[in-house]
Point group: C2
C-alpha cells in the first residue's frame, strides 16, 4: 500500500480540510463546518498552536498526458488523527483525540490502527498520562475498534455547549 | 460577601489543588488524584501553558492572637473555573471547561454563576466559537444550572480512554 504515517505539516492543511468537508457532506451536515481555512492553518501552525496531527499519506502516480513528464508523483493525504492537550486536575496532561479519519475508499486496511498506534507511542514519548476521546454510542465498528485496545468506554456523561 | 473573580495566578495553585483534593475526598476517590503539585503549576504557568483558570476569592480576617498585629488579612480561594482551548475541525477554537468548583460551605450563593459568566465573557473577548464541557447525567442541580443559560445538553456520546 505504501502508506506513511508522519506528523502533519502546514502543506497538508488543504488536503486535511478537504477530508473534513467530505466527511461532513457524507454526514449530510456540510453547513456545520463553519471554521475558515486560514483559522485552521493558524491554529495548527501559527505562533500559538492549539492542535497537532499525524497524517497517513500515500504516494500516487497520476497519469497526466498533457504534462511533459510521463507521470506526476504526488503525496496524497488519505487520513489523519488530530489532537490537542487536555488538562485534568486529577490526571495531569493527556492527549485528546479530536478526529480520527480515513477517507472512505481506504477504510478496512488498518490505516486507522496505524494512526492510533502512533498516538499511543507519542503519548508515551511525551509522558502524557492518557489518551482520551469520544465516540457516538451507536458507532459499533468504532467502539469495537477501541475495545481491541482494552480502552475504557464510559457512559454517563452529557456534553454541554454554548455557541457564540 | 466581598467575592472577587480574577484570572488565576501562580500563587493560587496551592489553594486550587487543595480544593481539588477536598472534592476528591468528598467523592471518596482521593487516590484518583495522581497529578503532582509541581506538574500542576508547570502546566499552568510554565513555558507552554496548557490550562488557564479564573478563581473566586474572598478576603478573610484571621484572628491570630499570637501575632503582633491584631488581625491578619488573607485572600482565600473559594472556587475556580479551569479551562483549556479545544480545537474542532468543524467549529474552530472553543473553550473547554474542565472544572467548575466551589468549596462546599460557599455553595448556593451564585459564585458558580459568577465564574461561568466570566468564562462566557472571556470566550467572546477571545472570539472562541463556543464554550463546551461535560456533566454527569445524574447531576440534576448542575444540569439545571446550565439549562438556565439555554445550553445544549447532548446525550449519545461515550468517553473513551487509555491510561499510561
Amino acid at each position: 500500500m505504501n502508506i506513511t504515517i508522519r506528523p502533519a505539516e502546514k502543506k497538508d492543511c488543504a488536503q486535511m480540510m478537504q477530508l473534513v468537508n467530505e466527511l461532513a457532506l457524507y454526514e449530510k451536515a456540510p453547513e456545520q463546518v463553519t471554521v475558515s481555512f486560514d483559522h485552521f492553518v493558524e491554529s495548527g501552525f501559527g505562533s500559538n498552536p492549539v492542535w497537532w496531527a499525524f497524517v497517513a499519506t500515500q504516494m500516487e502516480i497520476y497519469d497526466d498526458s498533457d504534462a511533459e513528464q510521463s507521470d506526476v508523483r504526488g503525496e496524497k493525504v488519505i487520513g489523519f488523527a488530530l489532537y490537542y492537550i487536555r488538562y485534568s486536575t486529577w490526571k495531569g496532561q493527556r492527549m485528546y483525540l479530536e478526529d480520527l479519519l480515513v477517507t472512505e475508499d481506504m477504510r478496512g486496511r488498518g490505516i486507522g490502527a496505524m494512526l492510533f498506534d502512533q498516538l499511543i507511542q507519542s503519548c508515551k514519548e511525551k509522558k502524557y498520562s492518557g489518551l482520551v476521546w469520544q465516540v457516538l454510542d451507536w458507532n459499533e465498528p468504532a467502539i469495537n475498534f477501541y475495545k481491541k485496545y482494552n480502552a475504557g468506554i464510559d457512559a454517563g456523561w452529557l456534553n454541554g455547549s454554548l455557541s457564540f
